[in-house]
Symmetry: none
């Protein structure tokens, strides 16, 4: 199963599905122009309401990760055009977190060295 749901996460199911497909598309697991599972098929395998899948797909379209062709299905957009925009969003989020660390008295250089220590493989 490519998408997993957590009923206890607090995150709405449709957003969990959206996040799952975003990751699959951005990482290339789902290739450009590849067809996503049909609404009914995915609803069945995930054992949830088709409306929820429908809503997730609508969101993926709105965010530009997929495009639908009525009667034919919904298809993934190529990842290259999306990666840059997604990275921009993430850097923005990290900026907010760094600001919080600065607010409570940390130095920027110390933060960077902490990140190196903690997350560099």
């Amino acid at each position: 199963m490519l998408i997993s749901l957590d009923y206890r996460s607090g995150l709405p199911l449709y957003l969990q599905i959206v996040e799952g497909f975003k990751r699959l598309i951005l990482s290339g697991v789902i290739a450009e122009n590849e067809r996503l599972p049909s609404v009914r098929e995915l609803a069945s395998t995930l054992a949830i309401n088709p409306n929820t899948i429908q809503r997730a797909y609508r969101e993926l379209e709105n965010e530009g990760f997929a495009g639908s062709s009525p009667g034919k299905g919904i298809f993934a957009v190529g990842s290259n055009s999306l990666k840059e925009r997604e990275a921009e969003i993430i850097y923005n989020d990290i900026g907010k977190e760094i600001q919080k660390l600065l607010d409570i008295g940390n130095e920027f250089d110390d933060i960077i060295s902490q990140l190196n220590t903690r997350f560099k493989k």
Copy 2:
């Protein structure tokens, strides 16, 4: 006014209040053992229901930012004991964001240099 509310942010009012006091306590604007505004007083100045304030204060207690004495008031915990724990939470959040960047093909060193370029004053 120490706390400001944004009715259009989507963030629940009680969480906006929690976040506001967290910042005030962590930054030392509210000193250790200083009394927070009373439930009714803050409800009045913010023009919202006392229950919403109550809920925010309860959340601050749960997260260890304040402690209450029924009949006396609610009092701030010292910021020093809280800063380290808070920083840990923030670093953890940044770690997740960095992981997303790595997942879409960025190199760790490039991420760090981006952070330096974007956020170093």
Copy 3:
């Protein structure tokens, strides 16, 4: 009825509900990922206000005994992951009680033998 209320105990109703569900989850009566009664349903069967149930469920979430999915319900966390943490809390409480006994002049070994006499089946 899984949960019973005592209106004369002095313990707030929402905490009685929390304690009740904690015991049911820790003892495995409520299995992992099992759905708890809906807020409105439980409010109806216990004949109390839905807000009180809501508050109890929120507390269960805060303490890690359950997690919710808006629109779906609230679901129990597995007991195995909780038992160890819960035991730690209880041992800590017992430690405080033992300290009181030591303070009033009892010997540790005498305390242990008292416990054996009183509580060993």
Copy 4:
């Protein structure tokens, strides 16, 4: 200062005072028939309302830890007669905690050996 108050503990101030004197009396720091500080004196040193002291002293009398002589003051009862009763209460509390540990699957002998490991000096 023999009695210390914590405005953030959630425990009512009058009970904190009661607990403080109980410990002082049980441990013998306050001797039999020793006079407790006057209401006004203690209220002044603790910087709290005299009514709160009054209430604490009433509670100490009710629980048999002190006796008042109108116009003369309030005096500690001898600790020997109290220790046994207090120990009984504490053993009862520990019994409840042990029951919780049994309920979540621990063996009695394991609990005892845990207590030995954790709390034996």
